[in-house]
Amino acid sequence: MSVSAPTALVAQADRLSFVEAIEFLLVPRESVTGGVQVGGVGEMLQLTANHMLLSALAVAIACAIALPLGLWLGHVGRGEFFAVSVSNVGRAVPTLALIAFFIAFVGIGFANVLAALTVLAIPPLLTNTYVGVRGVDPDAVDAALGMGMGEAQIVRRVELPLAIRSIFGGVQLAAISVVATAILGPLASVATLGTPIVSVNVYGQAGLLGAAILVAVLAVLVYLALTALQRAVTPRGLRAGREPPGLERRIPFLDRRSAQPT
C-alpha cells in the first residue's frame, strides 16, 4: 500500500505535463538553465518553419534525382534489381545511424543534414516510381506508339500519369520519414522541432512533450496534404472510387492528350 501513494502522485504529475506541454507551445517561459526565454508561439513557429524548410528541400532534391531515374529505368525496363533492392537496403539502415554517419564522417551543419535526409528520401521515391512505370499496361504503351508518340512523349503523357499513384505513394513515404528524421537535426547543430527534444536540459520536460505533440501533428498534416495533392493530380479516369480504367476509358484519355498540338 505504501507504493500506491507515490504512484498516484506520479500519475498526477504526468497528467499535468500534457497540459504543461500545450502551455509551453503557447507561452514563453524561462529555460531550465535560467536566463533565457524558451517556448511560446514565436519560437515554435520559427522551429516549425526551419523543420519544414529542411524537409521540403530534402524531398524536392530527392525527387529531382529519383523521379527521372526511376521513370527512365522503368521505361527501358532495366535495373530492376537495383531499383527494387535500393528501398530494401534503405529500410535496413537506421535513420539515426545515417545521421550519425554523416555527422561523424562528413560534418555538422545544414548542408550535411540536408544531404543525409536526401539520401533517406531517395529509395522509396526511386522504387515506387520504377514499380509504378513497370506496372503500366503494355497495351497503353503500344497504343501510344501506334499513335506516333515518341519515347519522351510516352514517358511524359502515358507512363507518368498512369504511374502517378504509385509515385505519390513514394513521395508520401519519403516525406514522412524525412519529417520524422529532421527531429535529429539538432544533433548536427541544425535547429528543428527536435531542438526542445535534444536539448531537454534547457527546454525541460514540457518542451520535450510539446515538441513531440507539434511534430506528430505536423507529420499527420503533411501526410493528409500529400493525399489531397495526389487526388488533385491523378487523372480523372484513375481516381479512387472508380472502376479500374478499362480500354474505353483510356483511349479518350490518350485522345485528348494527343489532340493538343505538339
Binding site: 529500410r91 535496413a92 539502415v93 537506421p94 550519425a100 554517419f101 564522417f105
Partner: protein, 236 residues
Amino acid sequence: MSAVELVVAQLEIRSRRGGTCVSENGFCPGWIVDNLWRYVDPLVQHVILTVVSVAAGFAIAFGLALLAHRRQWLTPPISAFTSVLYTIPSVAAFLLLLPVTGRTTLTAIIALVAYTQVFLFRNAINGLGNVPEDTKDAARGMGLTDREVLWRVELPLAVPEVLAGLRVATVTTVNLATLAFFAGAGGLGAQIYQDITFRSNVVVAGGLAVLLAAACDLLILGGQRLATPWRRAAVA
C-alpha cells in the same frame, strides 16, 4: 565511492583512446576489438525489442485481418488507421507515451507494435483476399466447412504474402528500435547517440543494426521456404 570509480574507469577509457587512431577519430579496428563488449548489452536489448514487438504486432494484425476478412467493411477503416499510426514520427510516439507508461521497455514496445501494423495487416488481408475463388470453390466442393477453408486453404495460400509483410515489418522495427532510447529502452541507438561523433562507434553500432536487420530478413525468408514447400516444387 562508486562515482569516483566510474570517473577513474572513464579516465582509463580516455587514456586508452589516446592512441593516434582514436584521437584522430579514424576507423580503428584495434579499438573496436577491445571495446566490442560495450555493444553486447545494447544488441541484446535491440533483439528483445524487435522480437517482442514483431511477435505482439503479428498476433494483433493477424487477429484484425481474420476479423476484417470475415467482415469486409472493416478493412478500409483499419487500413486508414494503421496508415495514420505509421505517419506519426517514432521519436514523437516514444515521447508521447512517456506520461502514460513511463520510461520503460514497454513504452518502446507499444510504439513499435503500432508501427508494424501497417505492413502486417495490409499484407495479411491482401494475402487472404488474393486466394483464387476457384480454389475456394473446389475446397467447398470437397465438403470443407468455412472454417476448414480458412485454415486449410486460404491461410496456407496467403503465407507468402503474410511473410513478405513480416519481413518488411521486422526490418522496419529494427530500424525504428534505434530510436527506442528516447523511451528509455536502450538498444543500439543509445550507443550511437552516446558518442555520435566517434567514427568507430558509429560504424560498429550502426553496422550491427544493419546486420541484425539483414539476419532477421534472411531468417524469415528461410522460414518462408520451409513453410511453402509447394512453391519450391513449382520452381524446381
